[in-house]
Structure formats: structure tokens, C-alpha cells
């Protein structure tokens, strides 16, 4: 589906070049971003994904304000109704029913979604920062720095991801909980560990671009006018390698959300009394058997699926929009 619009793009390319060069009145020149946006809009599924993701993000951010039910309050009559009488406790008080303890599903989905999205976003920021710095240094300085940093990257690639995530999360959770408190401690731990195990592809990507870009004339020109090394790296070269980084970052958010949910699902992420989509799904596993309670694990699972699916479609659309080679 990525290539649907290729034919129309091919026709548009020369016209665009003329518009920028000749600049006839009434036509605004296009920046990289407005151009990317025009391409992105043509990818209908990516656009749908963007709206869905925005909707979910707004929902979990502002939902708890509009729907003030306490996510940890236990409604025993509703729980009994659901467990014993054999019907889901859908009511005005609990539009999505309650879980096995009688806690409101909708409120938990809001609060859990905040955690899942936050971990995904922050872990990617960590991963992109490390990856960009390592890749930029390796590519720009070359020689010893390059081979040292690339050895490090290869080493990290060879580390077994999920086993290490599980191990570190289990071993260090108590210490971080003592320092930062229950929720923040685990949040910091997950963000740092997921980020620290996912920066390698970005580092390689950025390094490869830096290797070729640092030989270009505009870098030479910048050096001639006396630009400092950090300024050349961050102001002159880095903006040119942002496109693939943005695509990788987008897809990385989805992967990080899955990592967090997997950890919570295996009982090594957030503790069971802090709702996240992964832990809700894990806690509700036993509820799968009964025809009137299976929504308890399935609802958070659908939320994870929808978010990851939207992100993957957005990433697909961004790749098409930001990669100029795909437009030729």
C-alpha cells in the first residue's frame, strides 16, 4: 500500500521543482515538512491511525477528569453480580463493567493507558537520544571513536533483550521503589531499561548518514565560516538525518509499549495494584473462561492492539512521506 501514490508522485516532481525555482505569484514555496504532510495525507490508513492514536491519547489524558470514578475503588455488589449471577456488570455506574475485584474497567483503562503511553513515549526519547548521540559521534569523528562505539553497539545488539529486561526489572525494582516511590520508581526503571536496550538501530542509521554527509560541501562551508564542532554536528548535519530517526522513533513507541505490557503481563512490570493495560490483561487471564467476564482481559488487550496498530500505520505513512527516494 506504500506505493499506491507513486504514479501520481512521478508526475508531480518536475512541477514542484519549477514552482520553487521560478516562484510564480500565488504559489507558496514548500518546506520539507509541509511537503511531507502533503505526502502523508495521501496515506489514508496512516491518517486514520493518527486520528485514532490522538483520540486514545486525549481520552486517557482527559478521561479521568471527565469520569471521576476511582480506578481502585472496589464495588462489591457489582463484583458479586458479575461473578455469581452470571451476567456482566454493565451499568450506568460501570459502562464497561468491573473486573474480578469489582474495580471499574473504564477508569482503569484510562489510568492504565496513561502509564502505557507514557512509558512508550519516554523510553523512545531515551533510546533516540542515546542512539543519535552515539551514531553522530561515531560517524562524525570516525577512526578510533567509531570503532569503539560500533563495538559497543554490536555488543548491545548481541544482548538477549527480553531475558535481560525481565532480569533487571526484577532485581532492581525494590531499590528504585525505595528511592523514588512505588509508581515513579518502576516507571523510571522501565523507561531507562527499555530505552537502553533499543538505541542500537538508530545509532547505526545515524552513523551511516553522518559518514556520507560529513564529506559534503555544506559541511565544509560551515567549517570555513568557523562553525564549532557541536554546531556542525547538531545544527548542520543532524537536521538532515532526522527523517529516518523520526520513522524509527514512531515505530519504537509501539515496540516499547509492547515491551512494557509484556513485562507487566509476566508480572515483572508495574505491580498488580497499579493498573496498566498489560497488568490488567494479566490479572484478568482467569476471567477468560466465563462467557460473562471475558471482556475483562480482552478490553485492555484491544487497547494495546489499537495503539500499536495505529503507530505502525503512522510509521508506514511517515516512511513514505519522509523518504524522498520513494517518490522518484
Amino acid at each position: 500500500m506504500a506505493d499506491v501514490t507513486k504514479a501520481s508522485r512521478a508526475g508531480a516532481a518536475p512541477a514542484r521543482g519549477l514552482a520553487v525555482a521560478g516562484g510564480p505569484k500565488g504559489r507558496r514555496s514548500r518546506s520539507l515538512w509541509s511537503d511531507a504532510w502533503r505526502q502523508f495525507r495521501k496515506h489514508k490508513l496512516a491518517l486514520t491511525g493518527t486520528f485514532l492514536l490522538l483520540f486514545i491519547a486525549l481520552m486517557v489524558t482527559f478521561g479521568p477528569l471527565l469520569y471521576p470514578t476511582n480506578p481502585t475503588a472496589i464495588d462489591i455488589p457489582a463484583s458479586i453480580e458479575q461473578q455469581v449471577q452470571g451476567q456482566p456488570a454493565f451499568s450506568a455506574a460501570h459502562p464497561f463493567g468491573v473486573d474480578d475485584l469489582g474495580q471499574d474497567m473504564l477508569a482503569r483503562i484510562f489510568v492504565g493507558g496513561r502509564k502505557s503511553l507514557l512509558v512508550g513515549l519516554m523510553a523512545v526519547i531515551v533510546a533516540m537520544t542515546i542512539g543519535t548521540l552515539v551514531g553522530a559521534m561515531a560517524g562524525y569523528f570516525g577512526k578510533g571513536v567509531d570503532s569503539l562505539l560500533m563495538r559497543l553497539t554490536d555488543l548491545f545488539i548481541a544482548l538477549p533483550q527480553l531475558p535481560l529486561l525481565l532480569l533487571i526489572s526484577y532485581l532492581y525494582r525494590d531499590r528504585l521503589r525505595d528511592i523514588f516511590g512505588l509508581e515513579t520508581g518502576i516507571l523510571i526503571l522501565l523507561v531507562v531499561v527499555i530505552g537502553a536496550l533499543n538505541w542500537m538501530p538508530v545509532a547505526r542509521l545515524v552513523r551511516a548518514s553522518f559518514l556520507s554527509l560529513k564529506e559534503k560541501e555544506f559541511v565544509e562551508a560551515a567549517r570555513c565560516i568557523g562553525a564549532s564542532t557541536p554546531s556542525i554536528i547538531f545544527k548542520h548535519i543532524l537536521p538532515n538525518v532526522l527523517s529516518p530517526v523520526i520513522v524509527a522513533a514512531t515505530l519504537g513507541v509501539g515496540a516499547a509499549i509492547i515491551s512494557e505490557s509484556t513485562l507487566s503481563f509476566l508480572g515483572l512490570g508495574f505491580p498488580p495494584d497499579v493498573p496498566t493495560w498489560g497488568s490488567m490483561l494479566s490479572n484478568g487471564r482467569d476471567q477468560l473462561i466465563l462467557p460473562w467476564t471475558w471482556h475483562v482481559p480482552v478490553l485492555p488487550g484491544i487497547m494495546i492492539f489499537l495503539v500499536v496498530l495505529s503507530i505502525n500505520y503512522i510509521g508506514d505513512g511517515l516512511r513514505d512521506a519522509l523518504d524522498p527516494r520513494s517518490r522518484i
Binding site: M1, D3, V4, D154, L155, I157, A158, L159, P160, Q161, L162, P163, L164, L166, L167, I168, Y170, L171, Y172, D174, R175, G254, I258, S261, T262, F265, L266, G267, L268, G278, L281, S282, R285, L288, I289, W294, P297, V298, G301, I304, F305, V308, L309, N312, Y313, D316
Partner: protein, 319 residues
């Protein structure tokens, strides 16, 4: 080529040593005392605890402890599992068989689904078949295994009652009936893992085919008057498979991560569920060995991928 392989193997060894050091350090620097259970027991006086510590070498500096561990590990002495009360090596090797059986079946399933569909999708690009297949693939790798596992349990075990959702390696029957039962127990974990892998592989196959289809040698083949089938299956496919085969080798250790999740859901007695149980019971010798074995798998398959690439593609020159 020969020297290249030797050089790669020689660089893999220091990588593995550093990885084992990293894992060892993570375990050693973690808070918590391996003798904590004795500390809580009033019948064990502090002097006795000190003696046990000294005997187990827990007071040695960490590098010394590492050297001792590494020396024993390469000789096949992987330590003693506190939780299972057996030696670690037979425990792991026993479990590894089950994991490889489930992973092997699911990978075979994934290849059987992904490659033909990927090829057809690329050949009939933009057709209804292609659109349905790419959409399903997109859904497939957006669906985390822990959720698809629950969904197949809900459908095939709870609703339809066709398949068991708790794995049993011992079957009541022998012969064909026993084999049938074994397959039934493995069916759901294999389905979940296989579908996830198939979704990724299908996308790679399609992309690789499409990349090759528009190249000049394909035009030449068509211009020679070869039949379309010959062009696609002998000319394009052979070249398109080169990156696919390396991706298959690279992904194999990754499927192990999926196995941790599916083994937990379906209670498969494999190496993944062993890892989870050992982490939760602080069974350090088992954890150390399992994590290190997965690292060995990652390094070995990365190496294999590089070597296979060179064998398949004569354009690659090793210097």
C-alpha cells in the same frame, strides 16, 4: 571465505565473554542477599552464616567470583539449582528440547504461510489478494503474542473446545495416537508464535520480491521470451530469497522472546517458563545460564546470517 569465517568466530568469542561479564555483574550488583532465607531463620546463628558465605565464595571480590564461575561453566558445571534441587545443566538441556520443538514447529508454520503469500502478493501487487494479505500481516505483527495467545484460548479452547490450552508433554497413548495428542498440545502455542513470525516474514518476502521485480535483469529475462513463471520463480525468487534467508537466521533468537510469553500462557515446560520461574524464585545459577545461553544463540545466529549471506550472494566479497 574460510579465513573470514575463522575471523568472525574469533571475534564472537570476546563478545560472548563481555556479555557474560555484563550479565554476571547485573546479577552480582543487584540488592538482595542470596542467604537472605538463612538471615530470617533464628536457628542459623550469624557465625554459621558467615561460614557458609566464605565456603560459597560470596566474600570474594566480584572479578574472582566471575573467574571461578566462567572456569566451571565452560567445563559444563553450570551450578546447582536451589529451587529444583538438581544440577542446572540437565535441567536446562531437558527444557531446551521442548522449547526447540515448539519453536521449530512454529517457524516451519511461519515459513509455509509467509513465503508463498509474500511471493503471490508481490506478483499480484495491488490486487485484492495483496491488499487482504498485507492488511492481515499488518494486524499480525501489531498483535502482541500475549494478547493473541488469550484470543486463541478464548476461541479454540473456551468457545469451541477443540484444543487444550495447557501443554502436557506426557501423553497417555503411544504411536500415532500419542503423536496426534502431542501435536494437539503444541497446536495453540505454535499457532500464536507462527502467526506472529509469518506476519513479519511475509512483509519482508513481499518487499524483497518487489525490489527485484523492477530490476533490469528481470526485463532482460522477459525480453528473451521466457515464460512469466520462469521469470518469477527461477530468476526473481532466487535473488529475493537472499535477504530473506539472512532475516530468518537473524530472527530465530528473537522468536525465543516470543517463546517466553507463550510458554508462560500455555504452561509449556520450556526454557522460557524456566527463566520466569527462576527469576521469581531468585534461582541465580539457572537465571545466569539461561540468559547466557540465549546470548550464545543470538551471537551464533548473527554469525550464521553473515556467513550464509556470503555463500548465497557471490557479489559479496570478504576482505
Amino acid at each position: 571465505m574460510g579465513t573470514y569465517i575463522i575471523r568472525r568466530v574469533l571475534t564472537a568469542i570476546p563478545t560472548l565473554i563481555v556479555i557474560s561479564m555484563v550479565i554476571f555483574a547485573i546479577l552480582k550488583l543487584a540488592p538482595g542477599d542470596p542467604l537472605a532465607q538463612f538471615a530470617a531463620n533464628p536457628n542459623v546463628p550469624p557465625e554459621v552464616r558467615q561460614n557458609i558465605r566464605r565456603q560459597l565464595g560470596l566474600d570474594d571480590p566480584i572479578p574472582v567470583q566471575y573467574a571461578k564461575w566462567a572456569g566451571e561453566w565452560v567445563q559444563g558445571n553450570w551450578g546447582f539449582s536451589f529451587a529444583s534441587r538438581t544440577d542446572v545443566q540437565p535441567l536446562i538441556l531437558d527444557r531446551l528440547g521442548t522449547t526447540l520443538y515448539v519453536i521449530g514447529l512454529s517457524y516451519a508454520l511461519a515459513l509455509l504461510i509467509a513465503i508463498p503469500i509474500g511471493i503471490l502478493s508481490a506478483v499480484k501487487q495491488y490486487s485484492i489478494f495483496d491488499q487482504v494479505a498485507t492488511t492481515i500481516a499488518f494486524f499480525g505483527f501489531s498483535l502482541p503474542t500475549f494478547f493473541s495467545g488469550l484470543l486463541v484460548i478464548l476461541l479454540f479452547s473456551v468457545r469451541l473446545g477443540w484444543l487444550p490450552f495447557i501443554y502436557e508433554s506426557n501423553t497417555a497413548h503411544d504411536g500415532l495416537l500419542g503423536l496426534w495428542e502431542r501435536l494437539k498440545f503444541a497446536a495453540l502455542p505454535v499457532l500464536v508464535l507462527g502467526f506472529f513470525q509469518a506476519a513479519q516474514l511475509m512483509r519482508y518476502t513481499r518487499a524483497s520480491m518487489l525490489e527485484n521485480i523492477k530490476l533490469d535483469y528481470v526485463r532482460t529475462a522477459r525480453a528473451k521470451g521466457l515464460r512469466e513463471r520462469t521469470v518469477v520463480y527461477t530468476h526473481v525468487l532466487r535473488n529475493a530469497m537472499i535477504p530473506i534467508i539472512t532475516i530468518i537466521a537473524l530472527n530465530l533468537p528473537g522468536i525465543f522472546s516470543g517463546a517466553v510469553v507463550t510458554e508462560t500462557i500455555f504452561r509449556v515446560p520450556g526454557i522460557g517458563s524456566l527463566l520466569i520461574n527462576s527469576i521469581q524464585s531468585s534461582d541465580t545459577p539457572v537465571v545466569m545460564s539461561v540468559v547466557f545461553i540465549t546470548s550464545i544463540l543470538v551471537v551464533v545466529f548473527n554469525l550464521l546470517a553473515d556467513v550464509i549471506y556470503g555463500v548465497l550472494d557471490p557479489r559479496i566479497k570478504y576482505s
